[in-house]
Symmetry: C2
Subunit: 255 residues, 2 copies
Amino acid sequence: MISKNELKFIKSLHKKSERDEFKLFVAEGTKLVTDLIKSGGSINQLLVTKKWVIEHPEVLIDLNLSPLEISESEMERITGLSSPSPILAVFHQPNLAHDIAQNNDSILLLDDIRDPGNLGTIIRTADWFGIKQIICSPNTVDCYNSKVIQSTMGSIMRVKISYQSLPEFILANKSNYTFYGTFMNGNSINNLKFVPKSAFIIGNEAHGISPEVEMLTDQRIAIPGNQLNDGVAGPESLNAAIATSVVLYDWFSKK
Amino acid sequence: MISKNELKFIKSLHKKSERDEFKLFVAEGTKLVTDLIKSGGSINQLLVTKKWVIEHPEVLIDLNLSPLEISESEMERITGLSSPSPILAVFHQPNLAHDIAQNNDSILLLDDIRDPGNLGTIIRTADWFGIKQIICSPNTVDCYNSKVIQSTMGSIMRVKISYQSLPEFILANKSNYTFYGTFMNGNSINNLKFVPKSAFIIGNEAHGISPEVEMLTDQRIAIPGNQLNDGVAGPESLNAAIATSVVLYDWFSKK
């Protein structure tokens, strides 16, 4: 049995202020919850419907889980999805990294990424290419937002994410990293060799990199496209997550 | 003045069956609507609020538009967005291409892409890298779905998109193209040279490329990632739009 207050508390975790206070976040769906557990996620509470237990006996045994069974109508009250999943887990937030990586790793800086799907996809892609640390500007969407979590597919457990002023971060780390800003005009990444400690900056979906951050970049980089070749009008820009993936792939493939 | 029946008709265009019948689609927002017009989109009806007209006199003059003014409550009744935009346009669908490109262009095949945001982003990215034709399997989400349109940013007017059986298309075009299928295991794209007429196949978000299509691919290709390098568990896969962008960038940068 679950109390009304417990249900209310879980529902409240869809708000950033509550997630921040209790250092928890919510994930829904069999694949996502099991991915998070396998990636080292620490469960605070696991709620499932009776139907789910009957259909997934192997998951409980595999992962040694003892969930609380709730009704489908209770699940409907706490879900953040338009159609509720039969499994919802509350996880402890992994510790946010306020210190930067000490070794030779390259990093990613996000300047006001606002779309949760974009942030989730960026975290997943960064993880794929071996980026271990992401520095987000304070106005970047919360990485524990449930839509972000749904698109990270477990990577939220492997990539360290911190929120801090990008200009301050850059000034404090000028000697450690070369800061590459992605712009519509800049050196084509195709012709570039990146330094071992690279920091890639990705700008906001609509406005790009902010002027304060732009001033502090070491190199302007750009993604080549067809409109540069044949002069025909084409798209003005790439989606922020797409731009990130192309830059990270290019960097990764030249390592 | 707009009649109730006209409002009802526009609202009905959020359904695929109605869009198919009348060969129309809906786009909302100043930037998207102006992008579509500048990209050659042919307007069937343009609806704006009084407030929008006052705030955007230059857009009407620039593009030589004569919109119909409707009230905000009328706009609320026809919008497909959670918060309505003050401008909504009904466009004629560009002619679907049933014939394939006759020249040396490379193409993209999509095997059951289901997420509208993914399809829109794929179309925008394909346009960026100069892909002029996309062949979608019949179960791929409708490219005139308003969520697809919102994420294409005008590219829907420049890229020809057709829906047809991928196995049939591949069998009929075996001699024209080399078909590269993206898989979790395959030749790393980093080491590959692509032929001039390449056809890249991207699979469904959850299940990848279907067995019938897999059987017909000429080469299995894969995107290298960090988990191949250091043996640490990482993400199992990349988002479908991200995988597309990495493959197309790699191909484009080697042309």
